[in-house]
Amino acid sequence: MLGVNGLIRLCHDINRLSMSYCEIRGATITTPDLQTENLSEFDHGWSVVVWNDPINLMDYVVYVFQKVLHMSRAQAKKHMMEVHQQGKSLVAHENREKAEHLVHQLQSYGLTATLQAL
């Protein structure tokens, strides 16, 4: 059994891990299945969107997708065409930190990339 201080510390740790909630009922503690429910929700809660622009070359966009997003050439071409024809393409679903990092990298090549909450 955890003491009150132990429960508080545990809740604090769980909050630090961005868990959604921690319910304390009497001497028991109920948390969601941290390994599956919450982590999967938070893991891929953000999209990276690349927008069309008239300047970047098609070959260049394909190259950057392969380089930054580690796509195959066929995947990179498909997403490039989506950007070109539909104005944008969702190129990754990640946790926020990773998605933010990808946006930075894509922008370092001059692509118009943004972060979008799912």
Binding site: P54, I55, N56, E100, V103, H104, G110, T114, Q116
Partner: protein, 172 residues
């Protein structure tokens, strides 16, 4: 322009006019990277500020993360200035009537793509070049007030394509 692959470097063999365009690109970028944000045009400032979120998203969302992106974009300017300064050293003694070999390390190929793309995007921003302008009619180009910018954008696209194909060839 001819492109040559060495063991650790790539050479661009440029005609005199192409060398002048590339020199002009690097000189512009040297000045642009050196200029503090407040000294840049509105369009250039907007370019360097960037945006983490879609235009529709609330500006209060992810404020810290947006500021982090702005800071990182400023760091890119400093990093790229160092590379451009080094590349400009190659032009010491360049004579405008002569062919010119511009050489860069293979590990700098991505920097070349990023830096030339900065110039293409900044030209487009400063001259308000859009989709229609990019499909310009070559025969009527001399009548177009954006001709100089469009020619440089096209020339740098040619350089980028050549470098990308060279890298792909290397991978195969």
């Amino acid at each position: 322009m001819k492109i040559e692959i060495h063991s650790e470097a790539i050479s661009l063999h440029l005609h005199p006019s192409e060398a002048i365009w590339l020199l002009n690109t690097f000189q512009f970028l040297q000045q642009s990277y050196e200029t503090p944000m407040e000294g840049l045009t509105d369009q250039e400032r907007a370019y360097w500020k960037g945006s983490l979120l879609d235009p529709d998203a609330s500006s209060s969302q992810l404020k810290n993360e947006s500021e982090a992106l702005e800071l990182e974009r400023l760091i890119w300017r400093g990093d790229r200035l160092k590379i451009v300064n080094r590349w400009l050293d190659q032009f010491n003694g360049f004579k405008p009537q002569q062919e010119f070999e511009f050489k860069f390390l293979k590990e700098e190929a991505d920097a070349l793509l990023q830096i030339t793309n900065d110039r293409r995007l900044l030209l487009a921003a400063n001259h308000e070049i859009g989709e229609e302008d990019m499909h310009h009619d070559l025969e009527k180009l001399h009548q177009n007030p954006k001709a100089g910018a469009l020619i440089e954008i096209d020339f740098l696209a040619f350089v980028q394509s050549a470098v990308i194909h060279c890298l792909e060839y290397e991978e195969e």
